[in-house]
């Protein structure tokens, strides 16, 4: 570790030459991207353009046909544990268990990041789930389940967020909450990559946009 590398802004996550097929469709080809601390990257594009697949490929949940993903300069497959410890991925599926209530779900998910029941409850109340704390999540609406998952944005201290359509099924208060969290994360040394259909106006942060499209 030379003084030089400590000074330089090394990107947190880098993708080089990423290519992926889905069946007969080439979703993206020779794609390069990188994101560093303090940055917000928006993946844009029509339905089916591979936004979700790209996001999943970056975290290792989808196969890349070509290309390499690097975390803090090292290939992801070599630093997988360190990478996982610093990332937070919210995908299409809620990622919470229907049989458990919101508090139990968060306790199971949070693991080492804090056993503080009061913080969990407070965040759930903040998200408008105060009346539903003891209800099994399968009895919650899709939007409410989403909000349980989103509580992680407040409760977990992860450097890089990868959010797939985080605004789905949220009301205005929910949208504001998510926007505020994203801005907070970016301005405190973290980074956020997200996909969305809605334009996302962030207070004080200008997201870079990467547009994916159908490759003929």
């Amino acid at each position: 570790m030379t003084a030089e590398s400590v000074e330089a802004e090394e990107p947190l996550l880098e993708g080089r030459g990423l290519s992926a097929w889905r069946g007969e469709n080439l979703l993206f080809d020779e794609l390069d991207l990188s994101i560093g601390a303090g940055e917000v990257l928006q993946l844009a594009g029509p339905n089916g353009s591979g936004k979700s697949t790209l996001l999943r490929a970056l975290v290792g949940l989808a196969e890349l046909d070509e290309g390499e993903v690097r975390w803090r300069g090292r290939p992801v497959r070599r630093v997988r544990d360190a990478f996982h410890a610093e990332l937070l991925y919210l995908g299409h599926k809620p990622g919470i268990s229907g049989a458990l209530d919101p508090r139990e779900n968060l306790r199971a998910l949070l693991g080492a990041d804090g056993d503080e029941a009061t913080r969990r409850t407070a965040t759930l109340v903040e998200l408008g789930l105060g009346a539903r704390l003891d209800v099994p999540c399968r009895a919650l609406s899709a939007g409410q389940q989403r909000r349980v998952a989103l509580a992680r944005l407040r409760l977990q201290r992860r450097t890089l967020w990868l959010l797939d359509e985080p605004l789905t099924a949220l009301d205005a208060a929910g949208l504001d909450w998510v926007r505020a969290r994203i801005v907070e994360r970016a301005t405190s040394g973290g980074a956020v990559i997200y996909t969305t259909h809605q334009p996302l106006a962030l207070d004080g942060v200008r997201p870079r946009v990467l547009t994916l499209g159908r490759i003929a």
Binding site: L61, A82, I96, L100
Partner: protein
Amino acid sequence: MSSADRHAPHPRSTIGAGPSLLAIVGGAVARDLRIRIRAPGEWLNPLVFFVIVVTLFPLGIGPGPATLALIAPGVLWISALLSLLLSFDGLFAADHRDGTLEQLVLGEGPLSLVVLGKVLAHWLLSGLPLIVLCPLLAVLMQLPAEALPTLAASLALGTLALGLIGAVGAALTVGVNHGGVLLSLLVLPLTTPVLIFGASATAAAAQGFAAGGQLSLLAAILASALALAPLAASAALRVTAASDG
């Protein structure tokens, strides 16, 4: 202090503050148990199946004690195996459906420990009850009383081993339509030795012979499964998680 700072590793690279290995397994057991207990149908059904199948034999073959006692070890063991095969489907299915599986794949700490925790939780509700039920059913099948401890021991070792083996099959077939049949076929070669040694141990004890050899082999299979199955299952889960979306 200052020179140490200059050469200190990047702060994020010291991930020593993670949960202990035991905490990972324990957490997985606690979580899975809580979930499974709230959906009793999933693990009760195979147990009821176990009882029904064994009960059918005296009815179908006739209550003649000699015949029943002869086939008792095999019947009890086969029924236990079938019951377990039925239960494997539910090992990862719910988590796969609601997306918690991919969160586990992205989680901290070795995935194999989480898998081990899940297998243990599954065994507590699908394997242990078989051992608890077997004395009653052994009486029904006219199994000599002196074979009972061996039956219980072989089931204890065997159901644990089967649970671990089944986890590998379940991990490979999560998300496959009608994966249950495929699962059974996949694990059949590995479950057959367990069945053979378990039934043979019980049969030997029923005839008054020592069953130490078979039980040792079961223990060896369990040890191998303990060492290898969680790793194989987590590798399979990573592939499964990658094949969605």
